[in-house]
Structure formats: C-alpha cells, structure tokens
C-alpha cells in the first residue's frame, strides 16, 4: 500500500544495493572484504532472528547459541575430524543448529514474552558453560582453529582468499534473503504474524499457536546456524563467547536498529551495525559507553529503527497522496 508511487525508487534502491555489495571487493582492501563478509553474516543471522522477534513476536535473548553451534560444528568437523567439503560441512552445521533449536524451542515455546526471553538466555549460557567445560573436546576458552575448507576441489579460506570468501558469503546472503522474503509472505509467514498480533484470534481461526511458535523457532535457529557456519571460516576461529548472552544481545540490537517490523530492517540494520561497531571500537576509547548509549537512544527514540522510520515516513506520504 505505502509502496504506491515509491515503487520505482524501491526497485532502483534494491538494484543499487546489490551493485554496491558486488562492488565491495573492487576497493581492494582485505579489511573491507572481511568487514562486509562479517556484515552479511550478521545480516543472515538478524534475518533469521527476526522470524521470531518481528514476525512471531517472541524475544529470544539466547540466539548466540545456534550461531555458536553452527560455528563450532564447522570448526569441529574441519579441524578435529578433518572433514573438509564446504557444502556438506555447512549442511551438517545447519542441521545441528536446527536440531538443538528444535529441542530448546520445544521447551521454550510454551512460555510467553519475558519468561521466554529468560529461558532462551539461560539455555545459551548453558552452552557457554559446556563449551568452557568440555575443553578437551571444544578447546574451551582457547577456542578452536578452523582450517581451510574445500569447495569442489578449490580451497575455501577467508584468510588466504578474502575476496572469494566474500562472494561465497554474498551468495548465501542472497539465498537467505530470497527464502526469507518468501517465508514471511507465505501462508505460514502470515500465520506467524497473526499469532504475533493476536494469539487468541489465531487459535480461534484454527492455527495451533504453540506448535507454530515452535516451527518459527526452529526456522530461525536454522538461519542462525547458517550464519554461524559461515562465520567460523571467515574468522578461521570459533570461541565460547559466541554463546555468551552479550553476543546474543548484538543481534537483538542489530535487528532493532534496522527495525524489526520491516522485512529489510534487520537485513540492513545488521550491516549498519557491524560497520558502525567496527568503526566505533577502532576509533573511540570508551567504546562500550558509546555503544551502550546507542542502544539506549535507539530504545527510547527510534522504536521503528532506521529502515522502519523511513518506511513510516514513506507510508505517511503515500497515504497523503493515494
């Protein structure tokens, strides 16, 4: 509706965005390649996270768990069991994340709002403790190195070939965005939104609310797992902090920064967040202070997030001139 009249700009914006993403490596800075690979990965994560937050109205404060599981699965397979084919490794990682997502989701889905948040947080901390504890196997706080993978005979290593890895990430990013877009506009996606808006009504029109919440949880866990699985090779490393709740807080912030009620909110929000964060940490001495204030300001003054606010403005204009 609000799109009427802005449709053209909307399309061009998308294309410009794509072009920029494809052009990044041409700047020839391995730092930027790294940074944007990171941004895209965060973006995938936020996208998956938003299935819960934005579309089902469930706030998880422990999504680092599935991200971490993805990362650690890759690290384990590649380094510990030297199983290197890229796509299978990725697949397994996603499966593992999804599996645990299913279990924990099942335990959490029957809870609402704050209880849900607390439980997810507690569970992610459980994983944190376990990674710490099972150091013989996971490498504990020292983390675990991720050796290079193998993509149909070509070596995949973000360290040796940042550009190649960036494009690889980009492809997965685009796939995630496409599938994500379809999901939220599918009957299932609408059902989730109905649950978010009015669980009572959703149940009253024949949607099994609890089960669908669970499905949503599983899907978002899968996306988080994919993000994590891409993250480990990028860093060449996996470490327990990925499970820590403060890390889960980052995706929450990234999502809200973009705006969790808009499909592209989290996607773009995550990219902005990653770049802003990197810049702040690199240049500001008291970066936690600044980052914290950013959170506070967003929470108080930008409930719609950046993209969300833009949409709202466009919507107003759209409704003024129908």
């Amino acid at each position: 509706m609000w799109l009427r009249g802005n449709m053209l700009s909307y399309k061009t914006l998308l294309i410009i965005g794509l072009l920029i993403l494809f052009a990044i490596p041409l700047l020839g800075s391995s730092y930027l390649d790294f940074l944007f690979s990171m941004a895209l990965i965060y973006s995938i994560w936020a996208l998956g996270y938003n299935f819960l937050l934005g579309y089902t109205g469930l706030l998880s404060f422990g999504h680092g768990a599935y991200f971490g599981l993805g990362a650690y699965t890759v690290a384990m397979l590649v380094t510990k069991y030297s199983f290197r084919p890229f796509l299978p490794v990725l697949g397994i990682a996603v499966l593992v994340a999804t599996f645990f997502g299913a279990i924990i989701g099942f335990l959490c889905a029957r809870h609402v709002a704050k209880y849900f948040a607390l439980l997810t947080l507690a569970f992610s901390q459980l994983f944190y403790a376990l990674t710490f504890k099972l150091y013989h196997w996971t490498g504990g706080s020292d983390g675990i190195v991720v050796k290079s993978l193998d993509f149909f005979g070509v070596e995949v290593s973000a360290i040796k070939n940042p550009i190649g890895y960036y494009y690889l990430t980009l492809i997965f990013f685009l796939v995630s965005v496409c599938s994500g877009w379809r999901i939220v506009n599918s009957p299932f996606g609408k059902a989730l939104q109905a649950i978010r808006d009015n669980p009572l009504k959703a149940e009253a029109i024949g949607i099994p609310v609890k089960r669908y919440k669970w499905y949503a949880f599983i899907i978002s866990a899968a996306y988080s797992g994919l993000a994590g699985a891409l993250f480990a090779p990028l860093l060449g490393y996996a470490y327990p902090d990925l499970f820590h709740f403060s890390f889960s807080g980052e995706v929450l912030f990234a999502t809200l920064l973009g705006g969790h009620r808009v499909f592209f909110g989290p996607v773009i929000g995550a990219i902005i967040f990653t770049i802003a964060k990197s810049y702040i940490i690199a240049t500001v001495k008291y970066w936690p202070l600044v980052l914290g204030s950013m959170l506070v300001i967003t929470a108080l003054f930008f409930p719609h997030g950046i993209i969300g606010t833009i949409y709202v403005v466009l919507k107003r204009r759209g409704s003024k001139t129908p």
Partner: protein
Amino acid sequence: MGERISRRDFLKGLVGGLIVGGVIGVAGGYVAAPGKEKTITATKTVTSEKTVTKTVTAATSGAKTVTETTTTTVTAKPKPREIPSKPIKLGVITILTGPGAMLFDPGLKALQMEVEKINAQGGILGRKIELVVKDSGGKPDKCIEHYKRLVTEEQADFITVGATSAEACALAPIAEESKVLTIIQEGTATKLFEEVDPHPKYVFRINNYDALDAISHAIAIHKAWPKAKKFAVIGADYVWGHDEWNIITTVLKKLVPDMEIVAEAWPPLFAKDYSAHISKVLAAKPDVVELCLWGGDLVTCIKQGIGYGLFKQCKVASVTGGEYVWGLGTECPEGILCSTRYYFLYPPWDRWHINKEFNEEFHKRYPDSHGGYPGFNCNSAYTAIHALKLAIEKAYAITGGWPTTEEIIAAMENLMVPTPGGYRYFRKEDHQMLGYAVSGFTKVSKEFGFAILDPVWAVPPEEMAPPPGKKWKEWVESWKIE
C-alpha cells in the same frame, strides 16, 4: 497490486544477482588474485620495496612469490634504500576493557613510556615511533578486525599484540598471511607454536608460554619442598588452569615418582567464593596446595584461605603468584611459593641497572598502577619495542639501508635483548623468546607495603624450555633422572 509487481521484479533481480554472484564469485575470487600478482610484479621494478611489500599485503594469493622476488632484488641491489622520513607506525592491539584489562593496562603504560624515551633519543634510525592503540576487549573477532584494519587501512609497519590465548591463536595464521611483523607479547597458549603456527615467519612471542611457567614452577616446588608427596590443586576451571596443573603434575611425577594427587577443586573463572573448594582441599590433608589461579581470583582465594587456616595447615604454591599477591598488601601470608615470568626485583637492582631504571621510572610515572611497579606485561612491552629497535639497527648495519620486514625478521631471529628481566633471546626455530622464570617465597615488606618474593631464585630456560620442535610432553617424558 503495484506492490506485487515490484516483489516479482525484486525476486527476478535477486535470482539474476544470484547467477551473476556465482560467476563473479568464482571469477573474482579465484581468477582475479593471480591477475593482481602480475600487476604487482610489473609495478615492482618502478616502485620502492616498501610500497611493494605493502601492496602485497593487499594482494591475496600469489603474494608469497612476489615478496620473494623483492627480497632477492634487495640483496642484488647495490645501493641501499634511504631511510623514510615519516615516523614508524606501530600498531598495538591489547585489552583495555573487561576483566582482562588489569593485565594489559600496565603493559600499555610501560610501552608508551619506553616509546617516549626512544623518541626522545631520536627514535629508531632517526624515525620517531607512532603508536596506534586498539582495544580488543579480549574478543578474537574484534582482535582480527583491528589487525586487518591496522594492516590495510592504517598502514601500520609493525604490530605488537597483548592478547588472550584465543586471540593469539586466531591471529597467528592471519598475521602470517598478511606478512606484517607481529610481536605477540602475551597470549601464551602452548599450542600457538606447537600446533597452530608451528613454523612462524612473521609472528614472534615474548612472554614465557604456559608450559614454561608450569615446568619451571614444578621444578621450583620440588626444589622448595623435596619431601612433599601429597599434592592438591585449586584451579580455575578452564583450559589454562587444567593445562597448568596437568603439566605441573607430569613434571612432579618425574621428579617425585611416588607423588599422589589427593584433591582437586575447580572453581569457575572469576568466582567470588572459594570457601567450599578450600574446605574440600583441606579435608584431603595435602602437603602442598597449588593455586592455578591468577589476578583477582588468586587474591580472593588466598584471602579466603587465610580465613580457613589454609596456610597454617599446609604449604601453598602459585604458578603465577609473583605480582598478584601485591593486591593483598601486608595481609599476605608469608612462605607462599610464587613463580612468575618476570619479577620486578630480579635481577637485583644493584646488579642490573636496566631493571633499576625501568622500575624507578615506572614507579615515578605510575605510582598507583598495579602495586606501583611493573609486572611481566610491562617487561614484555619493554622487550617488544627494544627488540624491534635492536633488530632494525642490526639489519641496517648489515644492509646499510632501511631494512625490509624480511630483513628485520632475519635480524630478530636469535637476537639477544637486554631486558629489565635480564638477557632474553628469540629462538630462531619457533620465534619464542626465552628468559629466566623467577620463583620465591612471599615475605611481607614494610618498605613496599606488600609481600615481596624473598628469597628469590631463577630457573634458566635450559631447565624449563623443551628444545624447538619438541612438544613439552615428549620432552618431559624423555627426562633421565637418577
């Protein structure tokens, strides 16, 4: 309606993008890089070596061959490169936030102090040193982010790192790849040079790594209490704690074949209550209790140990001890066997002026930094900057011009550096610096207002360091003790 059209197009766009992405991905990724290499080798002849090695860092694969060609051309070239006028940019990645900060903040202070001193004396070959400090907060991702940023965006010439084990291990492969001389001060995981980066070229490490600490400490324990048989541990429940204890016991088994472990308690990192652990350990009536803790944890544990009469009932040793007991002030129990990588009173000031000057200046500048005296990270900071200075000057003496990174590395291998902690040298094979480890018994000193180590003795590298390429375990197992 209109919206739907846009969606379809959007999808079309993405699908199209997908295919393009695939193509460019493969092409850009795996074909572009060699192309880059060509361009560089072309430019090489015209541009100066420095810029070449720099552009190479931007290049990805194939860069190796390039630098080789450059170095060969260097040795071939008769006329030495003149010394650049712009200051040396030294990137510093360290931990200034979170619980780790207490370790690295004094180190940074010492580094700034030394850099100012060197700059005051005209810098290195007339080039002033400019520090670019980044805080990683102890997180590997941030650490790597900073590193890449320093190398590419901020064009740092050298980088020195004070980091956690995780960060160091994550960083090493990237450092090797980006071909920038990287001096790791702290980040002492044994596996760094044993597994992660077994044949380092661009990475050096200064502080004694965990195995060295543990082995020297175990030897010290044996020297101190040869008759001790029953051992117990209170150790931080993470890799470091367990590793240290594992190594200590392995060595002790060698030295005291009939030793036994009577109790183990593993409080989590940054625990606030050790009473239950102490109770447990005391219940087992050990001869010696080892505290595999550091920082606030160690202080807290010792403090609560006093409350539980730990020090009355058995001997206590701490693998890191040394400078942390300062936190206890004059309340510190006497006779704890503490080991450390560098101790501010060793070598004695009257016999080693570097140490004296270093301590006095540090104390004058930062009286309220950790106990007011430099700790082992201050020593490593001093060592890092001075080793770099020496290496550059040495390389300059040979080549007669501003040396390339590779030449500096060559000069740095087997380099003997006079540090506050006595002479230390980089071992050529694994780029690990070796120096004395120090052990001693705590003794409250009114003069300093905290417990110092007295008597104090040093364990020489030969006694604690496995020969290059040998893992500590094999080495310890291979000891012959009659």
